[in-house]
């Protein structure tokens, strides 16, 4: 899929000056989906080289009466906030981590959000697992590699991972792990767990490609 950015106008007519023009780094993104207050921003901040930034988008969606506005079904514009951070891999590659609301009522934006994403971390609070269902359903249906990371709050682990796995009903090959969004080392390992899944996915795909 070639992006519209590769159109010819993007390399302007050769100009003498400005020799410092290194090519801008290629971006790749990983999604961190989770309910409010589950620790997405903390997790992003634990590994990001910049303090997490917040951006907003106006999204048009069909209101389902979930919000205060009552039960009116109408087209409404919602402002969705995303927190994100970045990791520079090298001069030519940059990883962005985007934290996004994981609940069902934000599902209308996930198509756009996950286009071109490498994979996703579903950050879960084991006391509020229903916040995670919609995101898991979506990533499964899109065959986007993902893991479930149960955030540890104040050192407490409220439910065993087996219980969480059973409650979420995720496939056996999908890692369900503990994480601690405040701990850089643990978050690194969480990311590596996801990247391992992403890598296996890619290898499986290539295998299929060659076979076909």
């Amino acid at each position: 899929m070639l992006s519209t950015h590769s159109d010819p106008t993007r390399s302007p007519a050769p100009q003498g000056n400005g020799g410092s023009g290194r090519p801008a780094p290629v971006p790749v993104k990983i999604i961190v989906a989770g309910g409010f207050g589950v620790g997405k921003t903390t997790l992003v901040g634990a590994v990001s080289e910049i303090p997490p930034l917040t951006t907003e988008a106006a999204m048009t969606s069909v209101g389902k009466g979930v919000d205060d506005a009552g039960s009116v079904t109408s087209k409404t514009t919602t402002t969705v906030a995303m927190d994100f951070g970045r990791i520079t891999v090298d001069e030519s590659l940059r990883l962005y981590l985007f934290g996004t609301p994981g609940q069902d009522r934000f599902g209308f934006m996930w198509n756009e959000l996950t286009t071109g994403a490498l994979g996703a971390i579903v950050l879960a609070d084991s006391r509020r697992l229903d916040d995670s269902f919609a995101a898991i359903d979506f990533f499964e249906s899109r065959q986007l590699p993902f893991i479930v990371a149960v955030n540890t709050f104040d050192g407490g682990q409220f439910h065993s991972l087996d219980d969480v796995r059973a409650a979420l009903d995720v496939d056996a090959h999908i890692p369900v792990i503990h994480t601690d969004a405040r701990n850089r080392q643990v978050v690194k390992e969480t990311l590596l767990t996801l990247l391992d899944v992403v890598l296996k996915h890619a290898m499986a795909r290539q295998g299929n490609g060659q076979a076909g």
Binding site: H5, T9, P23, P27, M82, F84, R86, T88, L93, L192
Partner: protein
């Protein structure tokens, strides 16, 4: 019905006080302090106009008073856009920056260092859709160069391996 006591220029001044105040306020410093201004003030330009609307609009979110279509000349990109696209100043952008104005100038100045649409949006507090439209314009007119995007990164084993090494090294 045009009356002699209402000349056009005055009309314009009344219609767009924020445009004139912005241009007066910004022109000298933007060029003079490029070193310090690569991260333009975190106060977005449109705050200048907020005063006009504050009273009616109080209670809604900060910094969202300007209608996005004003900034983009009527074009709207709803949604997230290509928010991870990275832009950097092109050679033309570096030498002809002063041709730009308002939000476009702010965007271009930020892109002295390569930035994603999401970063630009966060720094300037402009919605993603607005930055998507403006940055694309700047790219089409040659001031910015868009980084190429990874083609099917999820299948790119080399790329994934580089990421794994980078995260290990954090």
């Amino acid at each position: 019905m045009s009356h002699p006591d209402e000349p056009d220029e005055v009309e314009e001044d009344f219609a767009r006080p924020f445009l004139t105040s912005v241009s007066q306020a910004d022109r000298p410093p933007m060029h003079a302090q490029r070193g310090t201004a690569t991260m333009p003030s975190r106060e977005p330009l449109h705050r200048v106009g907020d005063a006009d609307w504050d009273e009616e609009a109080q209670g809604s979110q900060d910094g969202e008073f300007i209608r996005p279509y004003l900034v983009t000349g009527g074009r709207v990109h709803e949604g997230l856009g290509d928010f991870s696209t990275v832009y950097a100043l092109s050679a033309k952008g570096r030498t002809q920056l002063k041709e730009l104005s308002f939000e476009s100038l702010q965007i271009a100045e930020l892109c002295h260092e390569a930035q994603s649409v999401a970063e630009i949006s966060a720094h300037l507090r402009l919605p993603l859709g607005v930055v998507t439209v403006l940055a694309r314009d700047l790219s089409h007119s040659g001031y910015l160069a868009a980084a190429s995007t990874a083609i099917d990164p999820a299948s790119d084993i080399t790329l994934i391996t580089r990421l794994i090494h980078a995260v290990h090294a954090l």
